[in-house]
Each structure stands twice: as structure tokens, then as C-alpha cells.
Symmetry: C2
Subunit: 464 residues, 2 copies
Amino acid sequence: MTTDDISPDSDWQRDDESYELDRKLVTAILYAVDVQDRDKLIELMEPLHAADIADLLEQINAHDRARLIRLYDKEFDGDILSELDDSVREEVINVLHPHVLAEAVRDLESDDVVDLVEDLEEPQQEQILDALEDADRVAVEQALNYPENSAGRLMQREVVMAPEHWTVGHAIDYMRGTDDLPEQFYHVVLVDPRMRPIGNVALGKLMGAKREVVLTDIAEEEFQTIPVDQDEEDVAYAFNQYHLISAPVVDADGRLVGVITIDDAMIVLDEEHEEDILRLAGVSDESSLSDSVAATSRRRLPWLAVNMCAAICASLVISQFEETIAELVALAILMPIVASMGGNAGTQSLTVAVRALATKDLTASNVWRVIRREVTVGMLNGLCFAIVLGVVGMAWFASPMLGVVIGTALIINMVVAGLAGTAVPVILDRMGVDPALASGTFVTTTTDVMGFFTFLGLASVVLL
Amino acid sequence: MTTDDISPDSDWQRDDESYELDRKLVTAILYAVDVQDRDKLIELMEPLHAADIADLLEQINAHDRARLIRLYDKEFDGDILSELDDSVREEVINVLHPHVLAEAVRDLESDDVVDLVEDLEEPQQEQILDALEDADRVAVEQALNYPENSAGRLMQREVVMAPEHWTVGHAIDYMRGTDDLPEQFYHVVLVDPRMRPIGNVALGKLMGAKREVVLTDIAEEEFQTIPVDQDEEDVAYAFNQYHLISAPVVDADGRLVGVITIDDAMIVLDEEHEEDILRLAGVSDESSLSDSVAATSRRRLPWLAVNMCAAICASLVISQFEETIAELVALAILMPIVASMGGNAGTQSLTVAVRALATKDLTASNVWRVIRREVTVGMLNGLCFAIVLGVVGMAWFASPMLGVVIGTALIINMVVAGLAGTAVPVILDRMGVDPALASGTFVTTTTDVMGFFTFLGLASVVLL
């Protein structure tokens, strides 16, 4: 590569520094596809990063996608496949000519191939594995032997290591003498005679130290090894918590088997967040914008069904007070307020608890203090709004006792919200269920049922 | 450091590989504080990473925290301050002896000091700046001149750079000859004679190349510069999207002013996610588990107040149908189901849209297709549940027409949910408002109001 090839600023293809794909560019690309102008298409796509091309493919419809890929043909790069959402990826693999696919896959690093094939169906997986050279294929198949979502799937197997007694000079001579250094590495891993990693030496430190310095003297203070069967979520947590750049991966005997770098951990962290945020809203975490209507509809049904059952439960509670409501319709008018306030307060507590569990900030040491705090907050905020709503109820329906009833019901429901909002995710977490997935329904069902029950129950006792 | 100092596996202080603080350790530490056994405390804390000590301080109560810090005294490390939540950090700074604080701060890198002081009140900020040596103080004050949450605040100013015509040999000799290489660096930045960065050379590549190779020949293909005033959210996006490890920061003239590394971008990415997830639930994004009851209560009030107004709106809609409900109490029993299903469907669409906006996957190119998809999904799912609910309504209240009314109202409300759930965040985003912050209330108010209105309105026309 010469300096001319390095584009000093590739902002133009993205909307002024916002990194959003420029709509004009998308239109120009689709026009080139329409008129089947292959040279123009290649010229327009050339400055785009593989991640941007993947975004582009996800944003256009399936018909345009297929036509673009066929016209682009041999230019199609393996990195684009790596960057695509699962659903679009499967579609693209089916559209690509088998020889273009084979060529594209052969350019990828083995850990990228693992990431690419692990979610594919059997026939597509075979098709890609067949395209690989033997050595790569073995590497990929070995990685696939580790459990899904484990450190073993995430790591790269090429590690630059050095015996613990080596000096800076030894390490530099070794690295300058060897032909097959990995594409990306940031540390030399120090190992003992049994191949157990005992420290990390940063390349920058190595550059700055004198040749006779012993490597162990310039090893990093922060050093963590990752067990090969550790869940990738915990790997991402470790990188984020301890600011790791790369970490050696070890087998059950503590022997070095690979290395994970921060860029892979960052992708996992991003995916875990996405999963949490979508699960909290009752959306399947595998969904993406490019899914079809049928797939989207099917994926959202289960949680809506659970919610319907919960809503019917709440209705059953209301139906117990049918006669009370018949006598005083004002109750039907006001009751959604109590339920809604409880639901919102519960969601607040719940979200804080789910996040704190994910960041390991909510532990056995402080769970009771947090529950006490949430309940007290519920009581305080309940009191504030009880006064406001009490006055509203009183003024609207000219009944002081109605004001008292709605205020009291609100305080009770907001205390329940604080309690349920914290206890439910903690209990689910202890049971090994992802609290982001199931807490929402439990908590809002509780606050709905309690809201209607306390308000209508109190009213039937006090007002009638 | 000798090999003895490097702990090959520091898992013991965290619960078996889960990275959660061991409760027994917390109890032992608090016991040491109780009996004022300083040696024991230091022995127990010694193997803990600064991030873990920060977690520990956040998890115990304010009284224990103050006693622990006073006993720990001079051992207190500057890195612990960096890792603390804002609210606890201010408290800890007040508790620390001024000379311990000064010592702790002096050990930090200047970009960590910036991160530490930028959210502090004026007097505390002064106290810390005064503790710094002159050169560091100037560096910190210069960084603070850049806008809050900008790349300028995030970057480190020490950059290892090389003129574009240098060879590998030049670069290695330069680095081995200089005394002040930064603590952490992963690339040598190539600059033109006007100090404009034109490429990145990875240290690993430098290690593997022959001395006579020209640096531009081994520069990375992927190369992005970051404008110094860019929002840190966009910086994190760029690192995640383009898998950057470090990127040069440039001023308005394109000249190199600093470098941002992926570990800082990862922290920002994590914070942005936290902000989104909390804002979607109506929780202030500055809140943390260690906040006091009063602070928590105060922070959650505004959104609850907005929600109360929304709930009162919905009640006003119901009150328009007071006579209808008085005639047929079944309507009061069933109406929350229609509102609740709409609210849930709306939240699903909304969350998908908010995420897609954050990842720049929802753009002008595909917004109409996404809206069409969400509306169609709403209609399909509405139809499914309309049939179920229609049968329930029919069976429960022995009125076929009631079943038809609830089914129809449900379909309408779920279409509205799909439309509002996508359109509201998109419109807010165009207006420059964070869609995570405000969309929820808009969408659920819409579905509540529409749910009650269509159901009760249809009922009053059809049933009475």
C-alpha cells in the first residue's frame, strides 16, 4: 500500500461525521444496480468499509439486495458476511455464487469464520467449511467443539508467547525472525515450562525497554486469565471491569490455549446490552430490522400472549368488584391511574435492578439495603402523588373520601412496585433465569392486580 | 516486579469465576474495620483490583465506607477514585485526608484525572487540580477546554508518531531511544509534514517487518481519524463499527492533537447503553445503586409526574363514556386489556426503533419500509389476539357483539401501537431529542388513550 491508497478522511460516504449512510449514496448505488452498470457500482462501493456495506445491504429490500450482490459478484468480500445480521446473512449466502462465497470465506481469519458459521443451518455450514483449506477447516471445527457463547469460540488460537526467563532482546529477535506473527496482537504472553501463562508484556513496553531487561520485570501489573469454558458475557465483563486489552485463555489445567482481544469483547458487550434492552421490552433478542413481517410477528407473539394472560388476570380482579363499579362509575374512571403509576414505578425499580445484576453491583452483600431503599422510595413518591391525586379525585368527583381512597391505594401500590421491582429480578437471577427476560411481566402484573385490588377493595369498604 | 508478584489467577477474591465480590471477603473486611485492624485490612484488600475495591465501597453503607477509608488511609490508590460512581466519589473525596487525596491523584494519567474531575463541583475540582504537578495541571485544564462528552476530553495527548517517509528501522530506533513512551499505545501514527495523520502502523506489524520496509507499506488498511469536537457517543460508534483499536484525533485543520484507544471507547459504549436502558424505563441516567433514598426519590419523580398527567388524560377519555359504563359494567372490566396490549405492542416497536436509531440502522433510506412493517405486524398480531379476546369476551359476558367490539378495538390499537412506536422515536430523533428519553411516555399515552377511546366508543355505538 502506498500513501495514495490511504484515505486520510473517509467521512464523505457517511453523512457529515454522523457515520450514518448517506441517502444520496444509497440512491446512486441502487441506480447503478437498476441500469446494471457494474463499473459504477464498484466505484461507488469501493470507499465503503465492509461494516458499512453490510449496513447498506440490511437497509435495502430483499429484491434489491439480490440484484446488487449478483452485479457486485467477485468483488464481494468475506468481511461483509461477518458484519451482516443473521437473517440477512443466510439470505446473502444463498444468493452468492458458490465460487464467490468460497473465495470470500477463504480470506477470513479462522475466528471470524467460527463467528460466521456457528449460527448457520447445517447445509450452509458445510458449504462454507468445504470452501476452507484443510488447516483452517480443522481450526474452525476445533473451535466449534467448545460450547456456544464460550471463551473458546471467541478466542484466536495464534498466540505470541515467551518463556518466563527470556529478556527483551530474546523476544524481539524471536519476533523479527519468525514468519507467522498473528494479524493482530498487543501482548507477548509469558508462560512457565508447563505452558501456563504467568504474565503479559505489552508491545509498547517491549519497544521502550533495553535488550537485557528480563521480560518478567516489565510485565503488566493487571493480569487476568480467562477459562476456555467461561461464558462470553463474563469475558466481556472482565474486559470492561479490569480494562484488559488482551487476555490469555487457559484450559482446565491452566495451560495456554488461545488469546481474546478487546475488540471481540467489545462486540460481545454490545450484543449483551442489545439483548438486555430488547428482552426488557419483550422483544426476542434475535430480531433485527431486516426481519420479514412474518418473522417479526411470530417473534413478538409469545410475550404479547403472556401479557394478555396477565391483563385477563387483572380483569378478573376488577370483575370481583362489578357491583361496586356499577354503584360508583368514578371508580372505573380513576382505577387505571393507580395501576399505571404502580407499573411505571415498578419498571423503574426493575430496570435499575436488572442493570445492577448485569454489572454485578447488586450482590448478597447489599440486596437487603437496596430492597429497603426501593420500598422507601416507593413510599415517599407514593406519598407525593397520593396528595396530588387525592386532591384531583376530590375536586373532580366532589368526594373527599374518594380522594383518600385513591391516595391510600397509590401509596400501597408504589410500595409493592418497589418491592416487586427489586425482589423479582433478584429471585429470577438466583434461579438462573435471565432477569431481563421475565421480570417485566411479573412486576407489571403484580402492580396491575394490586392497583385494582387495593383501590376497588378500599372503595367498596369505605365508600359504599 | 518479579514472577512472584504476578498472581497467575486472582479468582479467589471474586466468587468462583463469576467475578462477583465474595460475600465472605466483604464480611471479613468489614470485621477488620470494626476491630480497627489496619494490617489485616491491607492484607485482605491487597489482591483486589481497583475496580473491585470501588465496587466494594459502593456496596457497603456510607458509615462503613468512611471508617474503611480512614483506616485504609495512605494505601488508598488514585485508580479507585477513577472507578467509583459519581455520587460515591464525591463522598469519598470529602472523607479522604487532603494529603492522601493529593498523593492518590498525582499517580494518575492526565486523561484519567480529566475523567475524575469533570463531573466534580468547583471546590473539589480545585482541590484536585492543586494537588497536580504544573505540567499535569496544564494538560488537564487544556482537556477541560474541550466540550463535555467530546473526543477532546476522551483522548490522551501523548502520541507516538513518525514522518511518512520513515522505515521500520527508523521507527524502532526512535522508540528504543526515547525515554517517554506513553504507558499504553498500540500504533505508530504516520503524519505528513503538516502534522496531519495519514495512517496507522500496528506495533505487531512493526515487530514482524524488516528494518528497510517503508512504514506506509505496512500501514493498516482500516484507518479513521476522529474530529476533536466529535461527540463521544459517535466515537464509541466508530470504534465498534470499524473495529478500531486506536484512532488519531485531529483538530479542525486535520492536525494530530491526540489519540483515543479502544478501552476508553468501550467505557463510553457501556455508559451509552446504560443511559439508553435507564432512560427507556424513565430513570435518570445518572442514578446508581449507591444513591441515597432522597436522591433516588427526587430523580424518579419527574417521569412519574409525566406519567400521572398521561394517566389522567386517559381517565378523561374514560369519563366521556361514564354513562356507557354505568349501563354495561363489563366494559370497565375489559377495557384495561385493550390498553395494556396496545402499550406492550407499542413498547416492542419503540424499543426496536430506539436501538436501530442508536446503531444507525434506521435511516432515511428505510424508515418508510420499517414503519410499514411495524404497522403490518401490529395488524397481524392484533388479528390473532382479537380472535382470542373476542372469544373470551363472548364467553365471559355471553355477548357476541361485545366480542366483536373488543376484537376490533384491539386491532385498531395495535396498528396505532406499531405506527406510534416507530414514528415517535424517529420524529424525536430528527428534532434532536434523545428518543430513549421521551418516546415511552408518548407511545403509551397514545395507546392508552386510543385503547379506551376505540373500545368504549365502539361499545357506545354498537352495544347501546
